[in-house]
Symmetry: C2
Amino acid sequence: MTPQPAAGSATAHAAPPRKISADVAVIGGGIIGHGIAWEARQSGRSVVVIDDAPGTGASWAAAGMLAPVSELHYQEEQLLELMLHASALWPAFAGRLEPGPESRPSSQDPGATGTGYLTTSTLAVGADAADRRALADLRGAQQASGLTVEPLTVREARAREPLLSPGISCAFDIPTDHQVDPRRLLARIAESLAGSAVRERAAGLLWEDGRVSGVSLAGGGKVLAGETVVANGLAAAALAGLPEGLKLPLRPVYGDILRLRVPAYLQPLVTSTLRGMVHGVPVYIVPRQDGTVVIGATQREDALSAADFEGAGTGPAAPPGAAGSAVSAGGVYQLLRDAQALVPAVAELELLEVTARARPGTPDNAPLLGRVADGTGGDVAGLVIATGFFRHGVLLTPAAAAICRQLMDGNADPRWAPFRPDRFSGPPAASPSPVNTVTIDPNKETA
Amino acid sequence: MTPQPAAGSATAHAAPPRKISADVAVIGGGIIGHGIAWEARQSGRSVVVIDDAPGTGASWAAAGMLAPVSELHYQEEQLLELMLHASALWPAFAGRLEPGPESRPSSQDPGATGTGYLTTSTLAVGADAADRRALADLRGAQQASGLTVEPLTVREARAREPLLSPGISCAFDIPTDHQVDPRRLLARIAESLAGSAVRERAAGLLWEDGRVSGVSLAGGGKVLAGETVVANGLAAAALAGLPEGLKLPLRPVYGDILRLRVPAYLQPLVTSTLRGMVHGVPVYIVPRQDGTVVIGATQREDALSAADFEGAGTGPAAPPGAAGSAVSAGGVYQLLRDAQALVPAVAELELLEVTARARPGTPDNAPLLGRVADGTGGDVAGLVIATGFFRHGVLLTPAAAAICRQLMDGNADPRWAPFRPDRFSGPPAASPSPVNTVTIDPNKETA
C-alpha cells in the first residue's frame, strides 16, 4: 500500500546532486502532504512530494474516522468549524479520487480499490453508568453546537449491531460521522500523482530575494518551487531555514492501532464505527470493507519513549519510519480488554498487526496551517505551513488542501486565520530587529 | 536470523532438474532437522537439509525452555526418561555449537552470538490458592520421579525477582530447567552447515531395491542419499512414498508467543524463566540475553483455523510459512493479562512481535522417532522418522540427533523403542499382504 517512488526518482549516490523544478514542492508524504499536492495538481500546477518514506508516519496508524461530532471537545469552537467544513468537503473529495468506471471494483470485491470512504454512521457506546453520564453530557455540548446525536436504547443499538455486549450502559447514533481507509486513501492519491514522488529527506528551505524558493535535499540536490508547503508533521520544527523567530510547538502524541481479521462466521462484526467509553477510557472499533477491523484509542498519554530503550540491549530496532513508536504491551492489553467489553467476540478475531505512531500535537490541539508573517506586515512569500493536525489529519485533509490552494491563488479566508502557524511565535516586535526577511541559505549554515 | 540458502542452491526454473547426492538427506529445516543434520555432519557424513522455508515453522515460535522437570506430566515416564537424557546432553551440545574464541561475543554484548544457552534456573509461580495446590501436587509427582523442586516463600522469590507481584500465592525453584534461544540456535547450526541447504519443497521419498534411496523435490529434482530423515513436522504425514501402512497420527497444537523489549529502567525484568499458573491457566516469561522477553503459553486449545477465514474478505494473507497460524486476539489478551498478574511491569514493555505456529502433536504426546518396520521382521533401510515432538522439540533436539546418529551407525538403543514411529500403525499382519517393500516412485504417481 505504500506509494512507490516515481520512475527515476531514486537517488543514485554516485550521480551528481539533482535539481528539480516544480510549481509546488510539498515536504512530507503523509496524508496531509499528499492531499495538498493532489489539490495543487488539480489546479493545474506541477507538484513534487518530498519524503524518504512516504506514508509510514502518523498516517500509517490513522483509523480514518471522519468524526467532527464525536471529536467535539469543549472550548474548541474554531476547530469545530474547520472540522465541519472538512466534513462537508469529504463526499466530493472522495468522489474525485474514485477510479473511473473501467477500473471500479467488482461487486464481488467492493473494497478492493478506491479510498474506502464510507458514510455509515457512528455509534457512541458507554460501558458503565459514569460513561453514560459522560456521553450524555457531551451530547449536550454537541447539541448546543447544532450537531445531531440521537440516543438509542441498548435494545435498539443491539438490533443494529447484534454483537454489541448486552452489558453496555448507553448508545448514541451519530449519523454524520463517517470513515475512510487512510492507507487506501494515501495509495490512491499517490497513484494519481504518479511521477511526483521524490524519495529523499528534505534538509531545509531554500531562500532567494527574501522569499522561499524551494527545498534542499539531504542528498545534496535541490527542488526549486514557486510555493513550498511544509507538511512533514513532527519533523517540521527541525527543518533548517524556517523563518527566523517562527516557533512550531509540536509535541508527539502517541496512538496505537490494532488491525484484526474477522472470521467468516462473525462477518460483519459491526457495520457502524463504534466509539466506546469504557470506565472513562476511550476505545474505538472501525469496520473496514475488506473484512478487517481497526481497534484503537484516540490517544495514549503514557507513551514509551525511545530513550527508555537506550542501553536496553541488542533487541531488534524499530522498522524504518517508525522512530519513537514503540507499541506498549499495556496499551495493547487495554485496547483488547476494552474492545471486548463492548464487543465480546473481539476475542475470536485474528490479530494481524499492532502499530504505534506519534502524531503532531499542538498547545491548542489545532493545526498550524497557513502563511507566516514576515515581520514587515506581510507574509513570507513562497511558504505555506501545514502541520500539527494532531488526531484530525485525515478528516482535515480536504480542508487543508483547499485552504492551501486558496493561499496559492492569493486568497486567504479570514475564517482560518486562527490557525496561522505563527500564532505561538509572539508579536514580530518581540524579535530584536526586523530581520525576518534576510536570506537564509541552510546549505551554507550546515556546510 | 533465518538461515540463508547455500550459494547456488536456489532453483532457477529454466535449469534442468537438479540431482544431488549426499550421505544423509534431512527433510525439514526446523530445529530437529538441523540438529540431526549437524550431528550427522559431525560424524563425517555429507548432509543436505531440504526445506523451502527453513526455520519458519514451529521452531520460529518456540520459547526454548529446556524444562524436563516443569514439563513432567503424569503417566509419561518414558517421555520423562527421554527428556532427562536430552537435558543431560544439552551442555555438551551447546558447547560444541559455540563459536571459537576469536568470534566470541565481547563482554559488552554477551548475547550477540552463540545459541543463547543459559543455565539460569526456572521459577514455577502460582497466582491463587488453587494454583498453589496444583503446583504442590505436581511437585509431589516430580519428587516421586527423583526430580528437584524446592519451595520458596513469596518473600524469597521476590528477593530473587523483585518485579514479581507481591500477590503471587507460591513459588518453586527448579534449578535444572534451563533455556536456549531457538532462533539463534537454528541460525548457529545453519551457519555451521553452510552449503547444505536445499531451498525446495520435498515431494516424496524415492525407493530403490526395497529401500529408501532419497527424496524427490517439488521442482523436479532429486536428492539421492544413503539415509533419509523425515523431520518436517506436521507435513511429514503428507509426504508421498511413505512405507505402506505407516500411520503418522500428527495433529496441529497451536502455540502463541509474544516477544517484548524491556525498557532500560526495568532491566532485567526477571533473571529466571518464570512458569506461571494463573487461575489454572499456564503462562511463561522467558528472559533473553538481548534484553527481550518471550511470553507464551505451553499450548492453545481454541486455535483459530484457516477455514474460519475462508471467504472472510480480502484481508492480507498470512506470511509465507505461517499457514494455519492465525494469532488469536483473545489469546494475546489472555497472555498479557496473565503475565501482568505475575509481573505487573509487563505492561511497561514494548510489544515487538506476536507469532503463532502449529506444533506436531501425537496421541501420546511423545515423538515419532526411529526406524519403521518393513513387514518382514526388519526395518525399512535408508529411512528414519523424526517428528511429533509436540512442545518438546527444542529440548529433545540433542537426543533426537544422537539417536538418529546411532541408528545410522547401526545401533538401536532399546530404551527408545517406545518412540518407534510405527507404534500407531498396527501389527504388520494387519496389512493385506507384505507389500511394504515394493518400490514406490512418487514422480510416476504424480506425473
